[in-house]
Symmetry: C2
Subunit: 549 residues, 2 copies
């Protein structure tokens, strides 16, 4: 493989850095930039039902054109396109990254060779899983499939963590604003026994379906929770064959005919956890909750955004532009964090999903050639819905350390009932008045003779507007963030699909766990083989109280 | 007033900065520091039921002693003590900050002069409110007070935002792990109409109590939601006199006998929103949910921590040490963010509360003398519960940009039922194994010949251990974070009690709102008087679809 260019070595980036000096000039303050005629027209892009406004970023025509040039020098779009066709973009794990295939409705074929050396058109495999999801969810809804005691299912509990939880939870909550549930979903993710206790209190065992999601079916937290749930089912005389389903790799311990469950659905190793919401991971629960048709609309929206990300010109490409701006903000301007602020309570869980998607994909220290890098990769992603965020941390956003913000607005809310006005304004309008005002205030600032009331402004933001939260548009939103993250990884020349950074903690936990097992087996056992501090903490845990070190 | 010393001008801080060079030395890498004998003993402190371990911070004896010296040079503890006695520490708003008085069980007196020029012992005022809470919640529980249709109340919806929401929501969720609810609480905070729609779907109007929390009773979001709720109650033939209560300032529009409600409880202007969880803001909902006795235990825990924060030696004082370490991490070592990771799903909402408490209190740009400052004040606070966070953003924590983390462990979970073992380990033990392993791995790192699997380590963390989540200990935890935040504000010589940074956004929203009102009144109205971008967005909103700029 030829050593790919680093973005910091491109001509475009070098030229861009020579332009940065002007950001200190008065006329380059955002309060002046945003007044320029046609600024919004120049620095916004629209693609059906999605509008992206980056007119409040600290750029001008020249800087923007260098960013686009850079993406062309780096052939970013080709890489993206190759990814969607099965190129081995996950170089450290030697496999493709084919989340886009999970919603590929085209007639194309994508062949890959599996570990048994068989070649598959994976689009057929994926469509097979989706047909199974359609059939199964339909049978649950038409009451062909009933619980062990012959009742219709009313609830489903998802046992899964990380990528088997966060994306799904965001989408489920977003859809709740526009769709009636056929089954209600609940999530059991944390291995904390109190998470289990809360879940059990919430659902009726006789009408609840349990859905275990784990690619390897060895994820410790998920298996420990499953174990605890099985104890609970046993006590209620409920058989897993009647009320438990699994979403897992073909041939994993969760896909073992000797350990029968109601149904199993396959996930594939070419789709990573944080990119898996359009696979069976999202497909089974969302189809159960809202019907397979809704899930399919969601897939279609995601697919449309994929095509657009792969095909539209660099200078028109919303996810690519958003990615370039992030690289610019962190590497040219030095910002360390990004706020994601959806002005929509239905999108309350979006920031947590993006937090994982972005920080796990981009928080890397080596290039794809396995060399240490010396530029900024991932940044801190955090957020809360607006207007709540305004009443929480916006003090710091306005007068403390600056960080770029992504505002998200939804034109049409889900609620269609009667609305009251307060002081002549509907609630949804109030929400928008606040969103617009915040973006403007952060950019423009305000001088005051009282220093405590002085607002420096010049704080960048983008605004993403979505028509409404139909399944199709939620699919586009999901795919937008996936594409943006992948583009960022490609620009930074890192692998956005691996996550070796989580291995050390898992590895060290094994040693601690071993000591716990020995002590559980023999209360006289003296804990050893781990660091002194961990030893001390295990003493607290076994003594059930705080003692002195 | 004498101009107070800035921490950057203290002798101790200057000496400390001279010691920083050694952090680059090999022997100062945390993997070596944490192996030092007695390190944990030296750098941990315990106060009944709370244990604070800062042995994994990048300090040695000398640096630590300079930090303590600095706090003495600055007379930080005297300031804190003066605050609890009613000193006017909120200088920009010319009033005291007396959240500690809300749980002051001592026999002392705190006199302040109200706006009508009457002198009050505010402890008596506060105790009067608490007696009223006790009586009212008792009458709801013993069914002396019933709903409009004569039914017992089963649910309460809190209408409030920011400080009238986040702290209470954290405490309610934490208590759920150990206490049975007498009434279930729900929260309606966001002005988003979809938040209202979700809430209405959840509760039965006949058995639901509505609790409006707003000091001024003019908070736009809260009033708009109340308005929408009143429409809903009217349709269900429910009178506010029967099912609505208010928590507000004496004499506010929510405390108006001509607009009768079931009951009103007072809050005081000497307690700011983000510090108000121990006032009636927390008192009424928590007493309804769990009983007044539980609320009182919670107050007692908070009071005990207040006394400890005000009285214990600087070198022993857990919240003060935690505050000094934050100032050290951001101003000497340059960290820009802090992770709060409770290994407890019951504390899932703690990070959002601390996010507000800390970022709103400390995200300031002027000193208490109203001079611009040139050192770091607040930092980004974010977090998710462990182990969930490990499966989300810990990739970046280990191999991307470093940031200090505060781990929180609970020795005894709330759940007392039967537990299964998975591979010889109980779920709660698994949780701890992970927490210990993460703190150790972040500090120690691990060398690897494969760069992608190299962990640099040297990433600082503290660990806070709490005995269990009884009301008393939750009170201590709350008060610990309040005291830590106040100490940080005092060290940084900023006002942690005002929030002028949120005013500009509110102010600019008025202009946008005015245009909306005009357009609502007359659909032919041409929007004007606001910036062009906001104009464009209002066009989208009124047309209900995306159009080109």
């Amino acid at each position: 493989m030829n050593k790919p260019d680093l973005f910091v070595n491109t001509n475009a980036w070098k030229k861009l850095l020579k332009e940065i000096y002007k950001l200190n000039y008065k006329e380059f303050h955002l309060k002046n930039l945003v007044c320029q005629k046609n600024r919004l027209k120049l620095f916004s892009r629209q693609h059906c039902n999605l509008f992206f406004d980056f007119s409040k970023q600290r750029i001008d025509n020249l800087i923007f054109s260098y960013l686009i040039d850079m993406s062309e020098e780096l052939n970013i779009k080709d890489k993206f396109s190759a990814m969607t066709k099965g190129a081995v973009v996950n170089v450290t794990e030697n496999r493709p990254a084919l989340h886009t295939a999970a919603r590929d409705f085209s007639t194309s074929e994508i062949f890959i060779t599996d570990k048994d050396n068989n070649r598959h058109n994976i689009l057929l495999d994926i469509r097979g899983v989706n047909r199974k999801i359609k059939k199964f969810s339909g049978q649950v809804h038409d009451k062909t499939i009933l619980s062990g005691s012959g009742k219709a299912f009313t609830d489903a509990v998802i046992i899964g963590i990380g990528g088997s939880y966060l994306g799904l939870s965001f989408i489920y909550n977003a859809m709740l604003s526009n769709y009636q549930t056929k089954l209600k979903l609940h999530f059991l993710s944390n291995v904390d026994i109190d998470d289990y206790a809360q879940t059990i209190q919430t659902v009726n065992p006789d009408t609840t379906l349990w859905i275990v999601i784990s690619k390897s079916y060895t994820t410790i937290e998920t298996m420990a929770n499953l174990n605890q749930v099985l104890l609970h089912l046993q006590k209620s005389n409920i058989s897993p064959e009647k009320q438990l389903i699994t979403i897992t790799s073909k041939g994993s311990p969760g896909d073992n005919p000797e350990d029968p469950v109601l149904e199993s659905f396959h996930m594939f190793d070419f789709i990573g956890g944080r990119y898996s919401a359009t696979s069976a991971v999202g497909g089974v629960p969302l189809s159960l909750a809202f019907g397979y048709d809704v899930f399919e609309q969601f897939l279609k929206g995601a697919h449309e955004m994929d095509l657009y990300a792969a095909c539209s010109d660099n200078g028109e490409n919303i996810p690519l532009i958003a990615a370039l701006l992030n690289v610019f903000n962190s590497n040219a301007l030095g910002y360390k964090a990004n706020g994601i602020i959806p002005y929509s309570s239905a999108l309350a869980k979006l920031p947590s999903h993006i937090q994982q998607l972005s920080m796990e994909s981009l928080g890397k220290s080596v290039t794809t050639c396995n060399e240490f890098l010396d530029y900024s990769t991932g940044s801190i992603i955090f957020g809360e819905p607006g207007t709540n965020a305004q009443h929480s941390f916006f003090q710091l956003a306005h007068q403390g350390m600056a960080f770029p913000i992504e505002f998200i607005g939804v034109i049409n809310p889900g609620y269609k009932g009667e609305c009251s006005q307060f002081k002549g304004v509907y609630n949804h309008q109030e929400l928008w008045a606040n969103m617009l005002s915040q973006a403007h205030s952060l950019a423009a600032g305000k001088n005051s003779s009282d220093n405590a009331r002085h607002f420096p402004g010049d704080r960048p933001s983008s605004t993403l507007i979505i028509q409404d939260l139909t399944a199709e548009n939620i699919g586009k939103l999901l795919s937008f963030y996936e594409a943006k993250t992948v583009f960022e990884g490609f620009i930074l020349n890192i692998n956005p699909f691996d996550q070796f950074g989580v291995e050390l903690g898992k590895f060290n936990a094994q040693d601690i766990r071993k000591e716990i097992v020995s002590k559980n087996q023999n209360s006289q056992y003296k804990i050893q083989n781990i660091d002194d501090t961990s030893k001390f903490y295990l003493k607290l845990l076994f003594n059930k109280k705080i003692i002195k070190p």
